[in-house]
Amino acid sequence: MIHFKNVSKLYPPDVIGLDHVNLRVEHGEFISIVGQSGTGKSTLAKLLFAEERPTHGVIEIGGWDITKISNRDVPLLRRQIGVVFQDFKLLPKKTVYENIAFALQVAGIPSARVREVVPRVLAIVGLEDKVQRFPHQLSGGEQQRVAIGRALVHQPKILVADEPTGNLDTLNSRDILELLKKINEFGTTVVLVTHDREIVNRLKRRVITLEGGKITSDVEEGRYKL
């Protein structure tokens, strides 16, 4: 599903984001990427959804070589990869429903289809009873659910979550983790970037550790160790 071949990312002038990374993630996997601050976790995530282009190496996603993907094709890629961030990135003046519908609308999906998909997604993330609320009327965990719901509208093959629990307390973090696991069980490949020791230890899934832009450990059913 995801294939990094000898990928390096240099930020000008000479900051190393990623350093000769080789990585293969199979369809349906749930991987966690851990590492200290500034070791290239977000860089790896950004390369996945083409927010950044690699300096060297080749990246393939579902057999599609996105190494030199054109700006024109980026939207197509983004409709196949859901993204979630620490700061939710919701539109404050739109309701829960509108925030999720927005992702479909801007992709030119007909209104009838939007009315069909949004409630389904709301059911998955468990927010059916809060559709008319605005983001500021929701808890952090609920806001992150909205963001995850939005990431799911195109039924993506991959979900990339960059520290989705970074702003949440333990209980909310657990909820979000359960939600990600549920999404993974539906067949979506999940790439989770995290700092959270407890989460990694609860997950008992594949863990990749980055240090200075290099993969220093890649363990099936890993535990958080730094």
Partner: protein, 304 residues
Amino acid sequence: MFTSIYRVIKFALQNFWRNIWLSVITISMLVLTLLTVNILLVLNRATDQVIAYVENRIEVNVYFNESADQTKVNEALTYLRTLPEVKDVQEISADNALVLFKEKHAQDPAVLSSVDEIGRNPFGPTLVVKARAAKDFDTIISALDNPRFRDEIRQKDFSDYQSIVGKIRQTTTQIRDGGIVLSIIFFIIALLIIFNTVRVAIYIHREEISIMRLVGASSRFIRAPFLVETILLSLFSVLIVMAIVYPTLALIEPKFSQYFGSGAGGLTSYFEQNGVLIFGAQFIALLFVTMVSTALALRKHLKV
């Protein structure tokens, strides 16, 4: 496809309303630009009318001697009528000239009594010659130097209409040149203002735009609302200018024709007959300028 067009227009209208003051300022500037252009058009039209009015009144008064032979006068009259530069010739007989003179000076007993003192009609016949255009004037004067009746003519009297027309033209040309410079300046300002409006709109919507990009909106879909908003701004501006120009013309038209007549066709009717052309052309020109400006702003500030 239709859904997308509908959504793009909806986003554009939202941009427009949410930054209503920005929209108001932008439209005001565009209106000012167009008004300058329209003032120039009206001025052009009015100048034509004033010149037509003046040329219509260009007269040469040819005064014959008291003792002039009526056959010579008739000869001169016929001759003048054959000239292509002459529009019309009228004869005022000696008796009539005296009556007119007395009417003119009815309030002035001193003048009247001095005429009476002479005891006879001191006036000769007069020919009033109307020229077709101010420039024909010299030809007519020199034509009257014809030896057949030159000696019968006491005086050729004329106002220097040509220099009046020349002055009108010169003044309006200066105003027009100034107006064109002003229009160009306003157009450049309009360009900068549109650029800034789009820049600010992009800044205000940066969050929305970055989210649109994240969830896979095509760059065309992200750009289109800004272009549509620019079309709306241009359209509103032209409509507002039309709403200003027509009533204003209707207001000044009666005063204007009171002085200068509506010989060259009224201002209002000119704008009514050519309205589609005049304002259509202005809309297209404005749209061109604003679209270029928007495209530049999007290119510089919207990296999608």
